[in-house]
């Protein structure tokens, strides 16, 4: 059967905006995927939705498709993204409006059922089960041009299109595991093509920005990782290893569709900017699904004091002694940066930073009460007192934890463009 070319244009919410267009214009693709959800992103979207219930999805994805929808349809490239976040239905509706405004009529499907707050996670702002690939596959088989999801595993964005294309059964564990590995290589975008890479010295510096990755999948689950011709960066055994080593924990990677045996992955050079992935074995997945739970942990704030020149330990001790008694936050953490060089010939070289971070359940003790206390010392503390930035009012923070639910408690659902819904077991 013909191979499937799957590209990626986003590794996180905030990744290079122009990547969607670059990937559509830069070479042939069957499917373009984008990952917009990290653990922390779910919290950000949760806070968005508290303010406005119609939000809760990745808004940059809307603007990217506003620019690229016509192009994707013209090229026959399906777009699959988890940009739906906490509100895939809302995102699908918004994309429908954009299409209407442009006189286009794409088939837009969405996948949900991942939101499991109703199963009882007291105090949780968000609780989302990591769904697998079969919902995306059903949406594509139903004719969708665009599929948006909530919390599916990052690799499912690649596995789903492969299942739809090759028709793999849920028990085709080796094939699924092969696609999971390809999915993990792609999910962080340019981290597969030379970004965040220890061997950066070997990258060509003359080319443009790092190209986003592409996987050419075969019906046995093997793949070749590459990138569009003429883009910057590098695809080598080392850049692909980097991404695998970063994404996995342990030798048996547990996912909703398959347990992937990472100790069976074989990487091989397949020519310039081409790395072949073969040999991947898989086995039955666990009976429970992992859940990403975010709770609103409290509020935090940080102030950074610049300490310069002589007697740095004493300067730090004095400002601490001045500030500490005024702080009412539940948690106060001080840390002093490294000692500067002696007899430094620049002011920056003679300086270090003293950081004070405060946390509390409520906003007041980390807000003005904290920042004013620090600022009021400006003329009343150690010589050379200065701050890196005026202290702000503090920010809320989340606490992430993993939980597990039985898969029978989750209703993994595809909402097709024609209004039909389909439950995926």
């Amino acid at each position: 059967m013909r191979q499937l070319r799957v590209g990626n244009c986003s590794g996180f919410y905030g990744d290079r905006f122009s990547a969607m267009r670059e990937m559509l214009e830069g070479g042939d693709l069957d499917v373009l995927t984008g990952d917009y959800l990290a653990e922390l992103t779910m919290l950000i979207l949760g806070r968005d939705q508290l303010k406005d219930p119609s939000l809760g999805y990745a808004r940059t994805f809307v603007r990217q498709l506003q620019d690229c929808l016509g192009l994707a349809l013209e090229r026959g490239v399906a777009v699959v993204a988890n940009a739906g976040g906490l509100n895939p239905a809302g995102l699908a509706a918004r994309l429908g409006e954009i299409a209407d405004a442009q006189g286009l009529s794409p088939s837009i499907a969405y996948v949900d059922g991942d939101d499991v707050r109703s199963l009882g996670f007291p105090g949780a702002l968000t609780a989302n089960a990591y769904l697998g690939a079969f919902g995306i596959a059903a949406a594509l088989r139903g004719g969708a041009d665009i599929v948006v999801t909530g919390r599916v595993t990052d690799a499912s964005l690649v596995v789903g299109p492969a299942v739809a294309h090759f028709g793999w059964d849920p028990t085709a564990y080796d094939e699924l595991a092969g696609a999971v590995v390809a999915g993990h290589v792609l999910e962080c975008g340019t981290q597969a093509t030379g970004g965040n890479f220890s061997g950066f010295g070997s990258l060509a510096r003359t080319a443009g920005p790092l190209g986003f990755p592409v996987a050419e999948l075969a019906d046995d689950g093997s793949s070749v990782v590459t990138k569009h011709a003429g883009t910057g960066g590098l695809v080598s055994v080392d850049t692909v290893t980097a991404q695998l080593m970063y994404e996995v924990q342990s030798t048996h990677y547990l996912g909703p569709d398959v347990t992937t045996h990472l100790d069976t992955v074989r990487l091989g050079d397949d020519g310039p900017d081409r790395v072949r992935i073969t040999g991947v074995r898989g086995s039955e997945p666990p009976t429970e699904l992992k859940v990403c739970v975010n709770e609103l942990g409290g509020h935090r704030n940080t102030v950074e004091f610049v300490l310069t020149g002589l007697d740095l330990e004493d300067k730090a001790a004095w400002v601490r002694a001045q500030l500490d008694p005024q702080l009412t936050a539940a948690s106060v953490t001080w840390s002093l940066g490294p000692a500067p060089v002696i007899d430094a010939d620049t002011e920056e070289g003679a300086s270090t930073l003293l950081r004070c971070t405060v946390q509390d359940r409520s906003p007041e003790p980390v807000g003005r009460a904290f920042s004013s206390a620090a600022v009021e010392l400006a003329l009343a503390s150690y010589p050379g007192f200065t701050l890196t930035a005026p202290p702000g009012t503090g920010t809320p923070y989340g606490v992430y934890r993993a939980a597990y639910v039985d898969r029978s408690a989750v209703t993994h659902t595809v909402h097709h463009a024609d209004g039909r819904t389909e439950v995926v077991s």
Binding site: E39, L40, L43, Q191, N196, F197, S198, G199, S236, V237, D238, T241, A242, Q243, L244, M245, Y246, V248, Q249, S250, T251, L262, D263, T264, V265, R266, L267, G297, R300, S331, T333, S335, R355, T357, Q359, Y397, G398, V399, Y400, R401, A402
Partner: protein
């Protein structure tokens, strides 16, 4: 002789909730000593080694998973990032630089591997 671990070892690190994840593997730099370097790295990296290499992990549970097929190891450092990236007060709360710190640490590298 003593030299940085990163002399021929690559790394990438990041966060998984409150845990830090660190991959270390031997660079494919064309060296004839590749297989010997992999055998050395796999034997070298134990939880005790990680505790000594990165002293701020000394009191934390460390797991090491050998991936000889990828020429390296996956290291999980439990609890280094406190309650997760948004809550952590650690310098580098997502452990993005942890791998490069590890590579800069000096270790005894046998002469035969150079």
């Amino acid at each position: 002789m003593k030299a940085p671990l990163g002399t021929f070892v690559h790394a990438r690190s990041g966060d998984k909730g409150g845990d830090a994840n660190l991959g270390l593997w031997v660079a494919h730099d064309g060296s004839a000593a590749y297989d010997d370097r992999v055998a050395w790295l796999l034997a070298l990296v134990t939880p005790d080694f990680v505790h000594a290499l990165l002293p701020e992990t000394a009191l934390l549970e460390v797991e090491v998973f050998a991936l000889p097929n990828l020429g390296g190891v996956n290291v999980v450092i439990h609890g280094l990032l406190g309650q997760g990236v948004a809550a952590s007060t650690r310098f580098d709360p997502q452990a993005k630089g942890l791998g490069e710190w590890a590579r800069s640490r000096h270790v005894e590298i046998p002469e035969a591997l150079w």
